[in-house]
Symmetry: none
Subunit: 133 residues, 4 copies
């Protein structure tokens, strides 16, 4: 059973939280190729959000090529495909790192402090992912 946890009031839009959690579920093996996703309406009811929001998340997953829709039957995990090259993935992460280091430096943090904070967030995330298993 796929469990999605929504944090309202976060900076991350709800549809994106859904997208990321489905992707994470696939990445960690909770969902395998061919497995069905919950129906839009069922998931919307379960996590208490507008069904448009769930539909949007699923649309995004399809666009990213990791989910397929079969007309009238529902949504299914697609065959895994590598979409981004290593260079592209590195670029995407660096785009987020650049503003972070500027901001941190201006706020008076040292490199070591920032690294410690990143590491902490990383372990926190890993921990919460394991809690979902």
């Amino acid at each position: 059973m796929l469990s999605i946890q929504i944090t309202t009031g976060s900076d991350v839009p709800i549809f994106r939280q859904i997208v990321e959690q489905v992707r994470a579920a696939i990445a960690c093996g909770k969902l395998s190729v061919g497995d069905p996703l919950p129906s839009v309406r069922a998931l919307a009811a379960e996590i208490v959000v507008n069904h448009n929001t769930v539909a949007k998340a699923y649309a995004q997953l399809i666009r990213d090529g990791i989910v397929e829709s079969h007309q009238g039957r529902g949504y299914f995990v697609a065959e895994r495909r590598e979409i981004f090259t290593k260079a592209e993935r590195t670029r995407r992460v660096n785009v987020m790192i650049q503003p972070l280091v500027s901001e941190a430096a201006l706020l008076g943090f040292s490199g070591e402090e920032v690294l410690a904070m990143v590491e902490k967030q990383f372990s926190k995330m890993v921990a919460s992912n394991q809690g979902n298993r």
Copy 2:
């Protein structure tokens, strides 16, 4: 001479791109305390955006206390002040770290890889700082 590069059609709004690039320039020492920023309308003409967009970016920099405006004279890099409490500064950095680690993990990077990338960006900033002295 401060050069700002804008990518239109990006998911990052123009005014944020300006903010981040000015912040980076200050953080790495390309701009020092007291240095003038390009005038609102001059920069707007140079990067071909509306002057309100530049004004919005500069206003953001003022809120963060890193630049000052003087009516009729222009914008200048402000003296560094301790504006925010430790808790607030930590919160601000974590707000940027959270999406970073989550995105990096989805793209298949390990914690070590992310830490290495962050460290690299940090050193790059420090290095360009010394180059400007």
Copy 3:
């Protein structure tokens, strides 16, 4: 129900009038943590200004950490946080006091009279706070 009164043609810009009245409403308890603010376009229509002007005022309130925005849902009074250092908070209050005492002196008021007027406004705010509980 929050009612905002705008004086056009004043030397105080419209967006600042909005900021100050929302701030006053929160300070005196007319708006409590979690309460929604009027929607940007609804308030703009009500006080007959451009919606950008209201948006600018609300953005200012966000910078000060006293309201939050949630995409697609609206603006809400934020939980109180200690954002600014003691020095910064003192600086901000003094920035408002300085023109006040200078103007009051030019208008012929003594220090005692000004203190009495400040105290009166303070009690008025506290009183209306209790009236709202």
Copy 4:
């Protein structure tokens, strides 16, 4: 000899600083009715500002009725006239007090603290005025 002290980099525009200091000089007797003011160009040279700025300040003083210009001879202190009623003067001060108390309350200051800060600024202003005599 009238001495004007300009603080550049303040929130208060230069022309306003001139206006207020001339008004203060008249109020405290340093300038009497009929006394000449420094010429626009002389004062501009002395305090190192644009002569348009001085001209603007003098225009404001004329508008307020406390200075007169005699074509070709210069500017002179006019016969003192009461311009604002007591109610109007009180209103003007209260307009500045209201935002102050809201801001101070939201920043976590008590009424006593604010009163102390106002008193301090008042004495500081009086002290610096006496220093000019």
